[in-house]
């Protein structure tokens, strides 16, 4: 294993159905209030609750980048305008130089809603898609990172990591390696996924959608609540603190200290029953950070509320942490943001560290005796030093991130 290589998290922001920006996420989490609502997206009649972000269609992209207009990129733009993140990135590009900043973002949906809608407007004779459909600007998986790199004038490596529900977390890991290898000095990381027909009808066909607000870790949990979200962080190579860094009251610095990734090698849409891949990802994250399980103060679970995920994840968490670390899934509050989930929950992990807050796992009325990890049913305040965030996806892809808080 390489020696630990912590990265400074200089800025971060998240926008979800809890609202735009960090203050909105915190306010809802502190109030133990969620943002899910019955699905009223387009004409979709499915009986399910979703986490829809308000006001996305009112966002206008900068005129020179109009070809990138689609729900996914409008949601990205909305998020980039929060919490001074835009300024933080521009400052980093100025300090390091445009070629020394990278863009690693995760998405599973990209702008596929645009293709879905374009198919409804095919030419009745030729079957051609409408002339205003821009494949590269919207549907293509790279569109998100292409939009962000052009928006900021970034010339370093830019790519999209697309690995289902682990995408947003894996983007952090790839960026860490690029900085550690000396390829770049900073990276814009994160993830954006938006509501579309494919995911709603797709998860419905797999019978993985709950008809009610999802209830992770509940004995009667019965599926996910799909959500959209956009979350970003600015990672920079280790260095002295600067004025304007995102700091807590005590001049603290937040860091990405470890990442771990693995494959289940088991099944395309069901997790390994004992969470073997999940366990490997967590152990690799700890090893990459030079930390022991006892060093972790709180784990933000993947916790999708499917019967199989929560069972497998709990087995893995218990194998590594032996019931000594409090856990919860915040998906009951903000839903499952799919390709953006890993990034949204990374930002929530950072907020937890900064605020000394372990958020409750909502909607858990009846504990499942098969799940042994100590699950938080109410918010708990405590000084946190190390927080872990898990994300697992179709294809058996697993990622685990570790963040810490230090006073330099």
């Amino acid at each position: 294993m390489p020696t630990p290589y912590p990265l400074r998290v200089s800025a971060f922001t998240a926008t979800s159905c809890l609202g735009p920006g960090n203050a909105a996420q915190l306010a809802r989490l502190r109030a133990q209030a969620g943002g899910l609502a019955p699905c009223r997206f387009l004409d979709v009649p499915l009986k399910t609750w979703v986490g829809e972000v308000a006001g996305v269609d009112e966002v206008a992209l900068p005129a020179p980048l109009a070809r990138y207009d689609c729900r996914n990129n409008r949601l990205a733009e909305l998020a980039l305008r929060q919490d001074g993140f835009d300024d933080a990135v521009r400052d980093a590009v100025r300090r390091h130089g445009p070629a020394r900043v990278a863009v690693f973002l995760g998405t599973s949906t990209s702008g596929m809603l645009e293709m879905e809608l374009a198919y409804r407007r095919r030419d009745p004779d030729s079957g051609a898609l409408p002339a205003d459909f821009d494949y590269a600007g919207s549907h293509n998986t790279f569109s998100l990172s292409d939009y962000v790199r052009r928006r900021f004038g970034i010339d370093g490596p830019a790519m999209v990591i697309s690995a289902a529900c682990a995408s947003g977390a894996k983007a952090f890991a790839s960026a860490r390696r690029a900085i550690q290898a000396g390829l770049v000095d900073a990276a814009v990381v994160g993830g954006v996924d938006s509501l579309c027909l494919t995911t709603l009808y797709g998860f419905n066909s797999l019978e993985l959608l709950s008809p009610d607000p999802c209830r992770p870790y509940d004995a009667r949990r019965d599926g996910i609540s799909i959500a959209e979200a956009a979350a970003f962080a600015l990672l920079e190579r280790p260095g002295p603190a600067r004025a304007g860094d995102d700091e807590g009251s005590g001049g603290e610095v937040l860091r990405l200290v470890g990442t771990g990734e693995s494959s289940d090698a088991h099944h395309m849409s069901s997790p390994h029953p004992e969470g073997l891949g999940a366990r490997l990802a967590m152990e690799r994250a700890l090893a990459s950070a030079g930390l022991a399980p006892a060093d972790v103060d709180y784990i933000n679970l993947h916790g999708t509320a499917t019967p199989s995920n929560d069972l497998a994840e709990d087995a893995a968490v218990h194998a590594v942490f032996e019931g000594r670390v409090p856990v919860s899934s915040t998906k009951a509050a903000h839903g499952h943001a799919l390709g953006a989930a890993g990034a949204l929950e990374a930002v929530i992990a950072l907020l937890c560290l900064r605020e000394g807050l372990m958020p409750a796992g909502l909607n858990r009325d009846e504990p499942d005796p098969a799940l042994r990890s100590p699950y938080l049913s109410a918010n708990r305040s405590a000084a946190l030093d190390v927080v872990m965030s898990n994300s697992f996806g179709f294809g058996g892809v697993n990622a685990s991130l570790l963040f810490d808080r230090i006073t330099p």
């Binding site: 294993m1 390489p2 445009p98 070629a99 599973s108 596929m112 293709m115 879905e116 198919y119 095919r122 079957g127 051609a128 898609l129 459909f133 821009d134 494949y135 590269a136 293509n140 998986t141 790279f142 569109s143 292409d146 010339d155 490596p157 830019a158 790519m159 999209v160 990591i161 697309s162 690995a163 289902a164 894996k170 790839s174 390696r177 550690q180 290898a181 000396g182 390829l183 494919t198 009808y201 797709g202 066909s205 797999l206 990734e261 693995s262 494959s263 289940d264 090698a265 088991h266 099944h267 395309m268 849409s269 073997l276 891949g277 490997l280 996806g393 179709f394 294809g395 058996g396 892809v397």
Partner: protein, 281 residues
């Protein structure tokens, strides 16, 4: 040029029109045989159980077939080697079928079709087929997907000091999407690479690469320098119209260079971006 990443290429897998595998391709790429366009033939993925073998789409078969070729020539064990899968389009046929199905008043989606719509499907099937629990990255950079995959694979190899299999693949979209995204032909390339001076890196690699700094595009995404072209005009047309084929100039250089020979290549990293590579055979 600051060389941030140095990697050794141990083995190669290739399936492209007129280039049915790497061994046969070396004769064409080295100039000893003429290139002739021909439809590709993809061997069925023997490592998958029969039911899965029937269910997977062309992109999975193509990715797995070139990965198999590369691992056949490598000392790295498939069951324990990290992978990077790079594609600009994923499964275009699946995308079309799903999009059509979603236009119905009450859409009915095949669960398998939905599961197979994620970009990391080949990575998932490969890991199941070979029983590999190492990490795998699936990425997209549109026309720059091969170069992005090369950077991700090289970074992983150098930072974690492990071998990595890079698998780049492309399958054309059917109509009506094809008109919006014309990819000319299917193409798959796989490379097993190691950190250049790693303690376990095999001696006598096919080539050692120093991957340089990307050169940004000018206005209108015009390249600063033209990327290295293929000697054969037909193969160069393939290079320009199929994103995974952006790897071909590197493969041609390897096929033509004599041991110890040094060269400078410029790969097309998409959107007018150049990726310079210094190579030693």
């Amino acid at each position: 040029m600051t060389a941030a990443l140095r990697v050794a290429i141990e083995s190669i897998g290739l399936i492209a029109p007129g280039l049915p595998d790497w061994t046969q391709a070396t004769a064409v790429l080295s100039g000893r045989a003429r290139w002739q366009d021909a439809p590709i033939a993809i061997p069925p993925p023997q490592r998958l159980p029969p039911a899965e073998r029937r269910r997977v789409g062309l992109p999975v078969k193509l990715a797995m077939a070139v990965a198999e070729q590369a691992f056949a020539g490598s000392s790295a064990p498939a069951a324990d080697t990290a992978t990077v899968f790079a594609s600009s389009s994923g499964d275009g046929d699946n995308c079309h079928q799903l999009s059509e199905a979603l236009t119905a008043a009450e859409p009915i989606i095949s669960p398998t079709r939905f599961t197979n719509s994620v970009h990391n499907v080949p990575a998932g099937y490969w890991s199941i087929a070979v029983g590999c629990r190492a990490m795998s990255t699936s990425l997209c950079a549109h026309d720059g997907s091969f170069c992005a995959g090369l950077i991700e694979a090289a970074t992983l190899a150098c930072v974690d000091q492990v071998p990595v299999a890079l698998v780049a693949f492309e399958v054309p979209y059917p109509e009506p999407i094809r008109a919006s995204r014309p990819i000319e032909a299917a193409c798959g390339v796989a490379i097993v690479l190691w950190p250049a001076d790693g303690p376990r890196t095999p001696g006598a690699p096919l080539a050692t690469l120093s991957i340089g700094t990307r050169q940004p595009a000018g206005p209108g995404d015009a390249p600063a320098v033209e990327p290295t072209a293929m000697t054969d005009a037909g193969l160069d047309a393939l290079r320009r119209t199929t994103p995974a084929a952006h790897a071909l100039p590197l493969l041609e250089w390897i096929a033509r260079a004599t041991p110890g020979e040094r060269g400078r290549l410029v790969l097309d990293a998409g959107h007018g971006i150049d990726l310079p590579i210094d190579a030693v055979r």
